[in-house]
């Protein structure tokens, strides 16, 4: 245990603890990282050069990395073959609106699931992540029908609203919130809805919150702060 504790989490474990081996290990780490980057970059570089080649040159051996002649007109053709500006604007609008709504939904849902009390929260959590199990192909037709009934065909809300529900993001944020260290999971009063909710008037602590004066910040002494995870069933470990 003690020898391996010293080892960096790099590949050659048998060299652990030998000081002279450190540069070698660093070298190996760089090599591995370079390999990973190469695997990602090579196809992208290929795509970039292919975009400037003629179709003929794409299909010649050996693979040439620099096109014989830079065919910039490929880009002009692609640009004019479809109404590219329109497509681009559409993408920007649906992306900004969609990801904005998803962000709000994800954070709110995760916050509620982690920091606010409610009976059977685990079932609600399951209801959220079970959405990840419904294949996209299943939802297309019923959603198209609904969007059509709402008169939203060929509108931005017709694309954005059906996609504004978020399961993945809520799950990710929940895990993130749950792994916050205990100290920082007590948000300052100004930023935490749960906190401000409880800081109303009286001195009664939040529901289900045994106040722990030993660990709480000054502000929580008069019961104005709930400790981080209101009645979260998973936090009893530590």
């Amino acid at each position: 245990m003690t020898t391996s504790e010293l080892s960096l989490p790099a590949r050659p474990r048998r060299l652990a603890g030998i000081r002279a081996a450190l540069p070698l290990r660093t070298l190996a780490a760089y090599a591995a990282l370079a390999l990973a980057v190469l695997v990602i970059v090579l196809p992208l570089a290929w795509m970039l050069t292919a975009s400037l080649k003629t179709r003929q040159e794409i299909y010649t051996l050996p693979v040439s990395w620099i096109p014989e002649t830079f065919r910039w007109e490929n880009y002009r053709q692609a640009w004019t073959a479809v109404p590219f500006e329109r497509f681009f604007i559409n993408s920007v609008i649906t992306t900004v609106a969609g990801s904005g709504l998803e962000l709000i939904n994800g954070v709110l849902t995760a916050y509620a699931l982690v920091f606010l009390p409610f009976p059977k929260k685990n079932l609600i959590f399951l209801l959220v992540i079970a959405a990840l199990m419904v294949p996209f192909q299943v939802t297309i037709i019923p959603n198209y029908v609904l969007v059509a009934e709402l008169g939203w065909v060929n509108t931005y809300q017709g694309i954005v609203i059906p996609g504004a529900a978020v399961a993945f993001g809520a799950f990710l944020m929940r895990q993130q919130f749950l792994s916050l260290p205990a100290t920082s999971s007590k948000p300052p009063a100004s930023t935490a809805p749960a906190t401000s909710a409880c800081s109303g008037a009286s001195s009664s602590p939040c529901p289900g919150q045994p106040s722990s004066p030993s660990r709480s910040s000054p502000s929580s002494r008069n019961g104005t702060t709930t400790s981080g995870r209101c009645s979260s069933p998973t936090t009893t470990g530590t």
């Binding site: 660093t26 290929w46 794409i58 693979v63 606010l116 192909q137």
Partner: protein
């Protein structure tokens, strides 16, 4: 609190209920949208699995469990289930393993690791269809980069597109290449040396050997749990790369359940059969996820 009555009891009760109300307020938009655009279609799909319908005609024929008995007696569906499991096991396994390795590498104080992190995130940005098309060129048996590399080693290039034995590995490689770079780069924040940071950095490391890992495994486990559940769910529903690269072929060799759903519904117009596969797939996914939540999350340490 404006309507705090002279009663002392009223504001207190209101105050006690407020967090519960906030909970409902916070989850309401998301849950409403999920019910409307995910669960309503799911129920509809389950209902349609008891019918024969061609997607167009106004007439739907009730057939009871016939679609299911057909599905479970058809050897093709067994082959497709097997494909789905092979694909999922291979991609989830490699994604977690490579993701772990990369996360550990990025956790070392190497020069240029932020640049590397950015590069590794690129496939996630590009989208499956684009990745699939690029890699189709790269796997081209005659002109592709892969065959050029193999040729340099003196090896013949397999016919990736047409050989049922090689199409699945190709799809798995491309899919894993896209996903495995994602866990470390998407879950790791910009590098600031802080303990909180470290807990997020080696995203998928909790199950790996090594004392350093063992020491930090508790902090890593929430993210590992998340990655395991989500990569499994997305692998079992992988569609775009398969659709672009092989369209389920050759000879169904890369056809997975979700591709079967697509094909039955939108190519063959057999909505009943498509819904049957979708329903079976949903319950498999639900079962596996419930098992993970039940037995794995109990061991997850939420500090």
């Amino acid at each position: 609190m404006a309507h705090a009555a002279p009663h002392p009891a009223a504001p207190r009760r209101f105050q006690r209920l407020l967090p519960y109300l906030l909970f409902l307020l916070f989850i309401a938009p998301n849950i409403t949208l999920l019910i409307l655009f995910t669960y309503r279609p799911l129920v509809e799909s389950i209902r349609l699995s008891f019918y024969d319908w061609d997607l167009i005609s106004p007439q739907k024929t009730w057939v009871g469990f016939e679609n299911y008995s057909d599905y479970f007696t058809d050897p093709t569906s067994r082959y497709i289930i097997r494909n789905t499991l092979v694909f999922t096991a291979a991609t989830v396994g490699t994604t977690m393993a490579i993701g772990l390795g990369l996360a550990l590498l990025l956790n070392l104080r190497l020069r240029g690791r932020n640049a590397a992190r950015t590069v590794l995130f690129a496939p996630y940005v590009l989208g499956g269809a684009a990745i699939g098309i690029i890699w189709l060129f790269i796997f081209d048996p005659r002109f592709g980069l892969v065959s050029a590399l193999l040729g340099r080693l003196g090896l013949p290039s397999p016919n990736w597109y047409n050989d049922p034995n090689w199409a699945m590995p190709m799809v798995i490689i491309v899919y894993t290449g896209r996903t495995s770079a994602t866990p470390p780069s998407s879950t790791s924040p910009a590098s600031k040396p802080s303990p909180a940071n470290f807990t997020k950095l080696p995203a998928s490391t909790a199950r790996a050997p090594g004392a350093l890992l063992a020491r930090h495994a508790p902090q890593l486990s929430p993210m590992t749990f998340f990655l395991l559940v989500t990569t499994m769910l997305s692998s079992m529903q992988a569609f775009d790369i398969i659709s672009v690269m092989t369209a389920g072929g050759p000879l169904d060799a890369t056809k997975t359940m979700v591709y079967q759903v697509y094909e039955e519904a939108f190519v063959r117009f057999r909505v009943g059969d498509a819904s049957t596969v979708a329903t079976v797939l949903f319950f498999i996914l639900l079962g596996v996820t419930l098992l993970q939540v039940r037995f794995l999350e109990r061991r997850v340490n939420y500090g």
